[in-house]
Symmetry: D3
Subunit: 329 residues, 6 copies
């Protein structure tokens, strides 16, 4: 049972543990209920029908539960699906932690904590440092386990922290390259910019938008929490460092059309926005090209204006025909 | 000295008390400093040059100060201006309250307070009522004295409260006409929607944007204060009434392009946005047509996509020629 | 047989009278014709297949006809449908008036006529009054029976007059609140603004766009009729009141992109446009939320930029915990 | 006195007859009135100040009057202007017809009438033919003397008819090249498309927008006149030929944003729109390049999205170096 | 076997030669492969399933191959399809040239060559003439056989040359009507403007975008070839005639949003763009209306902003009722 | 004479060497010619009038010439200007190299050459390496001396190479951070992306757009040169590496509206576009804030949608009040 969902061959029988990602109850033509279920493990996703579902089945086979699954891989309308032979909830002595079945960030949680820890020491402005500590402390568990989005980019467990760290790494490069940047402000803004997603989204498994997420958005959510935290820390509401930090968060979508109530009016806010876009673009394109053959095009990428991307053939070998080894200038 | 600035005839000498609205220090061709000053009273504005200004003059003749002014009304490049004979700060026993010299809302402060008071009683939802009371209490003085904007519409002292009350009056009409509207939510949202302008703007005289106004905008300013107030009142941050109220404020500009981080997703939020636009449009058009002759067009109105508006001639007399007095249906 | 279409239980047999809203003739795999029919009564709509349809069936079972229907309510692909046992045209001594089976405005035709009558008396400008009378007279029957749109808002019998009256009621509130509005012009414009829909649309049942509607639009349709009516009433074509009234109609969509050949250039034209949008928005949102459970979101509303709207839970009880009964100011 | 305004040398005294295009009354620093006047003849325009103007001067020296002018050509702030020595109204035995002093179309009025006459014979559809005749008859004088615009393209006397004829000539080419075009409809639409400008504009001299022009636009103006004319000719309002003709006029701006209430939905309407744009573009670009030296750029052209256009150097001589005289295929 | 695909009656058996336009290999529920094939001849297209396809079948029945087909015309889901009885590749002594089975331009290849030849003689500028010859020479075969687009307008064999010639014919009309146009530049630009499509598209049969087409677009493709050709002809890279010609090509889409890196800055470039749009619009509308009954609307036309077009009823007879035979002016 | 233009005090006499940046010949009211000149050195710019200019003066005092200037610094209309006492061309034994008087990149030419050299070695793809070498070789002198723009960002001598190197440094950081990027392609694209500006712009002094720049733009200019260079190097025109490199250049503006004929369809093309924007934004904002006091706002930045940027006060001292030195996670 070491194999994963994507490893089973067509028409092959298999048994494994999988996570239920979606489960819709429907009524068949014969009047009986059935469940249309999407299963998931770290290798990918596949769907199947659970026929003649009782009321109890419908109540226990819900998104976020791990099940033991016995079935066969089939094709239906050119799409792979599972014919379900047997299915039951995983027991306590079997794999049953949902987080084991979702894709994860390429850094461990501890590596990410170390990186964040180190960066906090570089936030040498007292106001910014204290607010960052207070809010990270409050949302630590979610920050290191949530995805950065429901879909699109960084839609895997730990994606929120990993996306934040990717931006921080780019930010360090920029600070090293250009003089005159307020590094503590840039780092503090980067850490807080998407932290509101811990309230906007429901969690790492079966991720949905919460009511607060739908009505307010993650920018306003974390902006208000910054003010509340500052208030409790005795920081004055008109303290300039506080206003700058709030602006970093509110302006990071760059354009009003993208949900920022203000466009960037600080050098550091513009940089944060640009780095956020750069990291998201790279992740989206690499994700879209992951399963594409050289010489083919990806599917359309929604978050990048529905563009398709091309995957080139591996380049020719270097320095063989005609490349000049001499110094040009 | 009962006359106002706009009452003096061309080439006539006069003396009066006026408010300094703007004062720029410049250097003349002869190398001496002078002040280019704009004076203001409730009748309007006029400019003049104060020659050979000493350093002390530059420090005392600043925006927001009331002065005794002796001069003559002249024309220069088709624009009226004041030739200044004499100028000094107004004394304590003379008119010296700047608020006496700016345009004011057509309701008295007490009338406006009464209307707001009455409406608060109609906000029968406890969460909404308590938050509205707390924030109105905090910003009461500014709320009843600030303008609703630096320029454009309701740019007069008390304009913020007057604009709020105009929306509340329209909101009452809508609630009476359409069944099923959550009146307390609509009224609470209307009272809070622009309250952040008490922090975004500098005050009723010489109004400018504050740093918080420039970096955050009045939507995010008051949104964060709602959360802070709820926290102090012991209201849970995920309380649905609280989230609805925050959404009313954040969505009231209607479109992301206009600075709302979320578009209206509640019936009441859509209504608030529409009434806000209706009231602002009427005030802007009436302001633009105020000094226009029948048969002419106004100047372009910036806040209404630079449209010009036409002022019709008074209509013909009714019911004289051919109007039918009978019932149609 | 008192029950309506939406009242029948799943798998229950029933018989009733219904209106045919749509009927498409198709060919089955066995080569025989069948009719795919949508039935409608005031409770809602449901579809079904009429197999082995003869040529005569196809000619008599057409949109706008009332039929006696015997069948069973079933589920197919998660959508309710009717299995048809028997179907024939309704007889003269049975319910057979199509208008009895479509949704209707919440005011009776006579109530609406009274309101319009009363408003006409308030149009004290002779030119405007005479033109309004002439055109209402010409289109009276359609005005009080047509919907205001093929779909979207006010898409029910009498919707056109009801929408017009809703705007008139809001207009009276605005006239009462703001001084200086030309009330007769506003009321006359409101009555005429959508009257062209009596030519643009085909009628209250099976509503389609006419050729004139498709090629000209209801703005140009009624604009030309105003000119024609004025000509017959002996009103000069350059009469200012006539030009103002035409502008009210032509500008009421507000933006060129929405089909107005001119943007509003009169205070009253801007108000008419704003009230038209306000009324349409409220009707569309309330319609979208009608069958939504508290805590859920509506479907996307096409006429409001595909937004979803949230239906809040009923608010908490008022004045119990912590609400302050005292006067604030 | 045979010379024109543009022919006089700098610092040279001259006397001539010219048209007053604009005249603004202003007050000088010394308190006396003066007139700032723009003079015009077929060679171009120039401005000058008429000092110490009496009330009578202000009343007689108005736009549209021809004057005898004695003066000197000067430079002021890098712009040529006239120093006025003497000025009086032209007498009846002197040149005094304003139309003699404005730019004119490159066809005579009679040539244009002949072309239109001939085209009317090609409009073989009775409905279209009768309406075209009726409206051309009503507006004949203005049609052959008005410009096609206040500024931009064809802004000269007779420009409206000349622009119409240019489109008709292009339309004949298109009809000859492509089979299946309804030529009578295309020609009738072309003749009527801008005829509303005879009401939208004030005339060939000192052209301004009329109130009808500002509030309705020339599309709606002529659309309503078509309906009125059809009514008088006994043509039914729902006659398809009538609806097609109205659509040709209403849709000819092509896009809603350009003021057409409907986009073209007929092949002939799309062609009319494209030819209208083609002719206007050529006229605007040629006008902009008229006084530009080879190798330079024109001023920005407002009607063409503020583009500048380049005037190439005359090309090199043909067929000398290396051009191949043989047949390629 | 003289009949074409569209001539066969429902349920009729037939045999014929057809071209394979598309062929997708799929797996049926029983696990066996089948081919979903679209057949094409000059009369139109129809699809069918080739069941139990062997590996060899999948390799030989590919787009661009002509086959002998024996089958029956059926209806499936309201769409005609072919039930395949027998299918094999066409033999050398049977019709097997794919170009015989695709739609063709309404001029023969030789007629088109004659027209282009004649026009080249009118390009009297040596630089332009030599470049046009060089590039036409290089791409002659593709130029006269390729379509002008994968779909949309002129999507038939020879469409590229035919579209070019249609523009040239319109260009001659414009040159004859307006003085001052650089005819050789206009004609040279017209010939080259879409020539890059010979590299952007894969060919006249089974047309797809090439990698160069996807990554560069036909404007940049031919622009670079112009430079390369000029270089080989010894024409200097900064020669003004060369720059003008490149601009004609690069600017012919008119707007940056449509893929032109520069907007037209030459009179001739603007004209070329307008004529390109005019010809494409006429072809798209006539294509969309080809199979529409009078009184109906076309499908939505993607290339014309998804508009539908109306096909009028034949007009009434001319000159019968009331048409006036007299001269109007 | 060691001082620079910006160092002289008001009303102080001075003598120095400066570059003429602009010189316009005008005619004074007295009929005599004068020159309105803008002077420039590395410290900034200032203007002055050279009265009574002879024809010879006008011919020698032109943009790009260095002059000896004796004058006095004055204020006129609140703008500093020079009163010119004496002016003559600089002699050969005096400072006379125009490049000494313009702002320069913060790296020396040799440092920049070394960096480029080193990067070329990292372009290990033979096709890309050879093309980059060929084109850099051809434009080396201009590449290291031209600005990157006429105004906006990097508008100083050497700015083009410096901007290129800034992008390369960022690109190295990105390559190090993200696996799977084609580094040689990214570096080659970065080096070539703006190289067309060596033809688009006229040079480092008195920079203007050339005719090629105006008609083609720098994207198409270098794209065509890549093809021409590849042709001479014997690289096939459809070589995939060549197509990828051309796409990098053509797509680097990111959006069609910004002049790219294709949007990025390669991961590396998207990264290049993002880094180009990031570097340009930082340079524009830092430039705009250079002379702004803390607490003030910059002027509007044209290249960043006319935003103003805020210059914060220096932050408070770190770690003094309440900053927590402990590890958070």
């Amino acid at each position: 049972m070491a194999k994963h969902l994507m490893d089973f061959a067509l028409e092959a029988d298999f048994e494994t543990y999988v996570l239920i990602k979606n489960a819709d109850k429907r009524v068949a033509k014969n009047g009986k209920s059935f469940l249309s279920i999407t299963f998931q493990d770290q290798s990918g996703q596949i769907s199947g029908m659970y026929w003649d579902a009782s009321e109890q089945d419908a109540q226990q086979f819900i998104p976020g539960r791990v099940v033991y699954l016995k079935g066969k891989r089939e094709m239906y309308k050119e799409t792979p699906q599972v014919k379900i032979y047997e299915m039951r909830l995983a027991r306590d002595n079997e794999p049953h932690d949902p987080l084991m079945f979702v894709k994860r960030a390429p850094m461990t949680s501890q590596e990410m904590k170390n990186y964040i820890n180190q960066t906090i020491f570089e936030i040498t402005n007292a106001t910014e440092n204290r607010i960052v500590r207070a809010l990270l402390n409050r949302h630590a568990k979610a920050f290191f386990s949530y995805p950065a989005a429901k879909s699109n980019h960084h839609d895997f467990a730990g994606g929120l922290a990993f996306h934040t760290i990717s931006i921080l790494r780019l930010a360090h490069s920029v600070v090293n390259q250009y003089p005159g940047i307020d590094a503590p402000l840039l780092y503090a803004g980067a850490i807080l910019h998407d932290l509101g997603k811990t309230v906007e989204l429901s969690g790492p498994v079966g991720t949905e938008y919460t009511l607060a997420g739908n009505l307010l958005g993650h920018l306003s959510i974390i902006d208000a929490e910054i003010v509340e935290a500052a208030d409790k820390l005795g920081i004055d509401g008109q303290n300039e460092d506080l206003l700058l930090l709030r602006h970093m968060v509110l302006a990071h979508h760059g354009l009003l059309e993208y949900g920022s109530p203000e466009r960037p009016k600080l050098l550091e806010a513009e940089i944060l926005h640009d780095l956020d876009e750069l990291d998201a673009s790279i992740m989206m394109i690499q994700g879209a090209l992951a399963n594409v053959n050289p010489g083919d095009y990806s599917d359309r990428v929604f978050g990048l204006d529905n563009r398709r991307f091309y995957k080139p053939h591996p380049g020719n070998l270097p320095r063989q025909e005609g490349q000049d080894p001499s110094r040009l200038f």
